[in-house]
C-alpha cells in the first residue's frame, strides 16, 4: 500500500530499491526480529571495550551484511562515512595523547562508533519501506500514524510537482542548478523559487486530503478505523455492499 514509486524517488533513496531484501517473503514479525537484532547489536557496541568483544560484534555485523545483502552503493556510502569518522576521531586522539598512544585507542573508539551505527543503517537500508511503515504504525497512535503514512504516500506526487516547478524556474533563469547552489548566495533564490511554491502547494494538498478524510468520517471514533467495503469490493467484484466503518 505504501510502496513508493522508485522512479520518482530522489537519488539518495533510489539505492534502496536495488538492495531490497527478501524480507517481503517473511512478513511483519520477521521485521520486528531483525529490528531487535539490529538494536541489540547497536547497544552491545556501546558496551564493548575490548578488541575481542569488538571483533565478535564485527562478526555479528558481517553476518547481518551477508543475510541482508545491501547494495554496493550503500557499502560505498558507509565506507565513506566511516573513513571520515575514523580519520576525525584518530586525529583527535593523536592530538590529545600523542601519536604513539593515541592512534590505537582512537582506532578502537572509532571502530566502536562504527559498530554502533552499522546495524541500524543495514536495517533501514534493506527492509522495504512499507514494512517499516507498518512496524511504526503498530506502535504509534492512530492520528500520527495516518499522517505519516499519508505524507509518505504522497512523496511521488510531491517530487513530480517539485521537478516541474524546478524545471520551470530553471528555464526562467533562476540560479538553482546544482553548480549554482555551491554558492550560498543562491540559496535564497532556491528558497524563493522552489520552496515557497512547494509550501503553498502542500498547504492546498493538506486541505484537500483533510477534506476527503472528513468526508469519510475520519476521526469520529477514538481508535483506528477502516471501511469494510474495501475488503468486500475485493471479494464481490468491486460492489460497495455493506459499507460501514469498523474500529480496529
Amino acid at each position: 500500500m505504501l510502496l513508493i514509486d522508485s522512479k520518482s524517488r530522489p537519488k539518495g533513496c533510489q539505492a534502496r530499491s536495488a538492495s531490497k531484501i527478501t524480507l517481503n517473503r517473511y512478513g511483519r514479525s520477521t521485521v520486528w526480529v531483525w529490528f531487535v537484532v539490529a538494536l541489540v547489536l547497536s547497544f552491545l557496541a556501546f558496551g564493548a571495550k575490548t578488541v575481542v568483544a569488538l571483533t565478535w560484534l564485527s562478526a555479528g555485523d558481517m553476518v547481518l551484511l551477508i543475510v541482508h545483502r545491501p547494495g554496493r552503493r550503500f557499502l560505498r556510502r558507509m565506507i565513506k562515512v566511516m573513513c571520515w569518522q575514523v580519520a576525525l576521531i584518530v586525529s583527535l586522539y593523536c592530538l590529545r595523547f600523542g601519536y604513539a598512544a593515541g592512534w590505537l585507542s582512537g582506532l578502537t573508539t572509532a571502530w566502536q562508533l562504527c559498530l554502533a551505527f552499522l546495524p541500524g543503517a543495514i536495517f533501514i537500508e534493506t527492509v522495504p519501506e512499507h514494512l517499516i511503515t507498518r512496524m511504526l504504525t503498530d506502535v504509534m497512535p492512530s492520528r500520527p500514524a495516518f499522517v505519516l503514512a499519508t505524507c509518505l504516500n504522497f512523496i511521488p506526487m510531491i517530487i513530480a510537482e517539485a521537478k516541474s516547478i524546478y524545471q520551470g524556474q530553471v528555464l526562467r533563469g533562476a540560479r538553482i542548478l546544482p553548480k549554482d547552489l555551491a554558492d550560498p548566495r543562491n540559496w535564497a533564490e532556491m528558497l524563493n523559487c522552489l520552496v515557497v511554491p512547494m509550501m503553498i502547494h502542500s498547504m492546498k494538498l493538506a486541505h484537500e486530503i483533510a477534506l476527503a478524510a472528513k468526508a469519510r468520517d475520519f476521526g469520529i471514533m477514538k481508535g483506528r478505523t477502516s471501511w469494510s467495503w474495501e475488503a468486500d469490493s475485493c471479494n464481490n467484484g468491486g460492489s460497495r455492499r455493506g459499507t460501514r466503518m469498523e474500529e480496529q
Partner: protein, 180 residues
C-alpha cells in the same frame, strides 16, 4: 497532538517530508559535515511558524525522524530521532518564550543557531555512551555541533523573508505566528 486539526497535522507531515526530500535532492556538494542542518532547521521553523501550536516543530521533527527511518535517509544510529526532535524542541521552546520570534531576523538567527547546535548534544551522548576520552569527546561534539550551528545560522537568515512571502500568499495567517 490529537488536538491539532488534521489539515495542520498533514501540513506538518509535509514539512517533515520536505526536510528529507530537500536533504536528498540538494546534497549541496560542500563536503562540510552538518550541512543537512540547513534544511532541518529551516523546515522546522516553517512548521512552527505556519502551525501555531505547542510542540508543532517537535512533532514535525518526530515525523521527519520516522520518515528518515522509512526512506533510509541520513546516518542511522540510535540517535536518529534526536537529530530531528532536538532542534524542534529548541524552536518550540523559543516560540513559547520569545514573543514575535518569527518577525525578527536577529531572534530567528539566535534560535536557529541554538537549534543547529543541538547536534552537539546528540554527538556528545553517543560519544559518552561509547566511553570516549572526555576531552576528545568535547572536541568531537564541538566540531560536529559547531558546523551544524553554522548551517542552522544560515537557515535562520532566510526564515523571516520566506515567512513574509508565505504570509503575503495567505499560507500563514499574519497574526497567528505570535505564540499564544
Amino acid at each position: 497532538m490529537s488536538r491539532i486539526p488534521l489539515k495542520e497535522s498533514l501540513f506538518l507531515g509535509f514539512c517533515a517530508v520536505f526536510t528529507l526530500l530537500f536533504r536528498a535532492l540538494f546534497r549541496l556538494h560542500l563536503h562540510i559535515p552538518g550541512h543537512a542542518m540547513f534544511f532541518t532547521v529551516f523546515f522546522l521553523f516553517m512548521a512552527r511558524a505556519s502551525v501555531n501550536r505547542l510542540l508543532a516543530a517537535s512533532f514535525t521533527g518526530m515525523l521527519a525522524g520516522m520518515g528518515a527511518l522509512v526512506l533510509g535517509i541520513g546516518k542511522a544510529g540510535p540517535m536518529l530521532f534526536a537529530k530531528f526532535i532536538l532542534p524542534g524542541l529548541v524552536i518550540d521552546l523559543a516560540a513559547l518564550l520569545v514573543p514575535g520570534l518569527f518577525q525578527s531576523t536577529i531572534l530567528c538567527l539566535m534560535v536557529a543557531a541554538l537549534a543547529g547546535s543541538s547536534k552537539f548534544l546528540d554527538t556528545w551522548v553517543v560519544d559518552w555512551l561509547i566511553g570516549m576520552d572526555k576531552k576528545v569527546m568535547l572536541q568531537h561534539a564541538l566540531f560536529e555541533g559547531g558546523t551544524a550551528m553554522l548551517f542552522g545560522l544560515i537557515a535562520g537568515l532566510f526564515v523571516v523573508p520566506v515567512i513574509r512571502k508565505l504570509q503575503s500568499h495567505g499560507v500563514i495567517p499574519g497574526k497567528s505566528v505570535e505564540p499564544v
